[in-house]
Symmetry: C3
């Protein structure tokens, strides 16, 4: 990343930081990890795992936790603060504002908006977007190229749709929802009934509601409900390539990592954290604050606060214990054979 930032601007962002050393450079040209930084870069110690890299780093400015003991090299400035990670985020938000190209308000000449759509004048509708009948879009929302917003859908304030998002009919985004490229909101649920040995589709007449401050990753799919709504709760963050089935209810503040699959009618309560590639059978409830390890297979209700792993899933400590013992199975079988022989 190449940027031009005055050292003075950086210092202004951290008025409470404890300074040590004198930076020689006048400008910061980039942000970089400790071991890759060169003169003119700003770096940071976020994860303690990388503590040993600080002393060798050539960064001109380093954000550090308050208890870091080392000294800056010549020409290097240490900024000690409570939480360097948050500090960095603060810095990045400042930079981001300067970097992001403006999305001018208005409808791109190549976009197509149905007459009955109500679009606030302070929205940006990008190239080749299609906005359907009776759609309503509130102020501050940015829709990039090749998006589709189906009829009767509603988008709140300050949402951001990256290129190629498809929101099908009758779905709702509340405020500040971020949808990465290729997301499908409102696809048909996977429900069929056996009629004379053929699978006959169950119509899905419901919708998807995505609450405030939800952010969703690229190419993730969320199916519409059968009658009511599939719902993603406030502040929940979902990664790329996740599958969320029809009628699923996800609570507030959950974190769902890439390639997770959640079957129909599952209830995920608030603040649940789900590792990548975990899978959930239909019609189960995952209690508040539960943690599910990556690749776990969850087929039954999960207690609030539980931490499960494996398939079939079990408490993480039992899973670790068993995986250690499994590695001893060859030895156990040998000794058992010996003992049996000794008798």
């Amino acid at each position: 990343m190449i940027l031009e930032l005055e050292v003075a601007d950086v210092l202004e962002i951290f008025p409470d930081a404890r300074k040590e050393g004198i930076v020689e450079a006048k400008r910061i040209r980039g942000i970089s990890s400790l071991n890759r930084a060169v003169e003119g870069d700003l770096s940071f110690l976020g994860n303690p795992k990388y503590r040993s890299q600080v002393s060798g780093s050539e960064a001109s400015i380093i954000l550090l936790p308050e208890d870091y003991e080392g000294k800056p090299r010549k020409g290097q400035l240490f900024l000690r603060m409570k939480e360097p990670s948050l500090g960095l985020t603060k810095l990045c938000h400042t930079i981001e504002k300067n970097m992001t190209s403006d999305f001018p308000s208005g409808v791109h000449p190549t976009a197509f908006v149905e007459k009955s759509a109500k679009i606030d004048s302070e929205t940006s509708i990008g190239p080749f977007c299609y906005i359907g009948q009776n759609v309503e879009i509130k102020a501050g929302t940015i829709i990039e190229s090749h998006c589709h917003v189906g009829q009767d859908s509603f988008l709140g304030k300050n949402c951001r749709l990256y290129p190629g998002v498809k929101i099908l009919s009758s779905c709702e985004l509340m405020d500040r929802v971020v949808l990465n490229s290729g997301i499908i909101i409102g696809s048909e649920g996977f429900g069929f009934e056996q009629v004379e040995s053929a699978h006959r589709k169950i119509p899905h007449l419901g919708k998807v509601i995505v609450e405030n401050d939800v952010e969703i990753g690229a190419n993730t799919c969320i199916d519409r409900a059968r009658f009511e709504e599939t719902r993603i709760g406030e502040g929940t963050k979902i990664d790329n390539l996740v599958q969320i089935g029809h009628n699923v209810q996800i609570g507030k503040g959950c974190l769902i990592v890439a390639q997770v699959g959640i079957a129909g009618s599952v209830q995920i309560e608030d603040f649940v954290v789900i590792g990548g590639q975990a899978g959930f059978s239909g019609h189960i409830t995952v209690g508040k604050g539960a943690k599910i390890a990556g690749q776990a297979g969850i087929t039954k209700d999960v207690e609030p606060g539980a931490f499960l792993k494996g398939n079939p899933a079990m408490p993480v400590q039992l899973a670790h214990r068993i995986s250690i013992l499994q590695r001893k199975l060859p030895e156990l079988f040998n000794r058992f054979a010996q003992n049996a022989g000794n008798k």
Copy 2:
């Protein structure tokens, strides 16, 4: 879901239902699950798991199995029938017909159709669609926004392509095929040959054939064959984010749940059911009517009718037995250590 349906219309749909109770409302305003229904809603007992919720439900009309013993509350109507689920589907199809916006026949002014394409006058080609050279599309097919149909491809009657489907060159859909948003039909197969330590691509010159009544979920990918065809058999239903490799042959009436991965040249025979996130190695055959549990890893041929689970996969009953015994490993190791000590 908000709808306006006369009670009389509902009764007309179920002429053979056994009625008990008198509904007070004149109109049905929605369909809802038993525990969420309010006055004016229609509900149903499909899954016996929810039987206990019937007596507390405030729905105005409830579809029930014939053997349900309870009585309706005041102002509530019970409709008893052989299969309430099928009844509900019937009702939904009626509603769906009324709800779905018409897709007018013809080509949207923003779409681009190559001159050599033969498109029936009773098709609907949506905004920003691209239809390639020599494409043929039959009557009744609806193509929504941002779809691509590559040269020499063929689409049969009454197909439905949701927004953003990409059908690459020389592929074939037969009749009544439903493709959800973001599906890719005909991507390059993943085949490479080692030439002097580099991977050189094997050209994929074949195609994909999707037979009658197949329905496929959002963002699923189906690779084209090397020479001949990757084939999805009649009436098979595939969920979201599924990967189907080059040359795969899938039989009739299969159900394939989300995020399944099927490597190249696999043969799946008729009526196979595959749980979510299961994976298949290349060049194997899965026999007719087999069932594969979610997250299973299948690396060898599967006998017809088998029900496999786990990775490595094994008969489901053995898998259950082993997973129970695994949880007893800590105890077994303890007791073994004790016994050994006792000697």
Copy 3:
């Protein structure tokens, strides 16, 4: 596959092949597998598994390894060569050149290119493409319909973007990169920080660099780095629906099969091979030439050359041993109970 190829043309491609038999047909109408070939087809023995099918094959020409002992039937020509698979690939490349429709140089009338973009005159920009500000695209690159190339991105020579690829801002493709349909390059990384019990997004200001000769499958997602770059090394091949997190560094010549998930900041060294649906925790290193079995869960650094399987992952031979012993657990528990009873 239907094609028209003179037998003489085929022979010209294999000047060094050892010929046996006399083909009667004048033209080759298709390429087909041994057991499906009919008269007029060319077939081949690539995988020794299919050796027994040669004698029954009705193909008119068969490419065979030098040590194949059988004799051609009447009217059939055997061409023996060192590596029939490579021979076939050579043939296919010839056919492909004849088959592929020309992509005419220039910008399709429905595409939209920002004025500041620098596009070589020998590129093909397809229908409904959007090319952003300051984008640079070099000679020989083909971009099919519905692609988005975000501002400040760079595409090298002879790249191929299939329909619906989204390359977001500031990303770089070097030369001869192939991106299948629906790929997202440069989506936001999944990184959040806890601020007063809410998840606050960490801005991702970096980019994605895709080196020479990389080929990527449909609907795969590659997140941009936080500051620097997510990098896919030269000649690496990635299959469909793969997730590659922010800051991941992938070396040269790797093979990554469908639905693999690689979390943020993972380093994959050169020539690593990863089976389908395997998953990687963040911040780990996978050594040069390592092999990872399908569905494996990798949570720790992997030694160069290791071959791991399972979750938790272990050397493949230990994994096989344990999975055999697991199947004997029921017997072991029985015998143990018996022994304990005998005392």
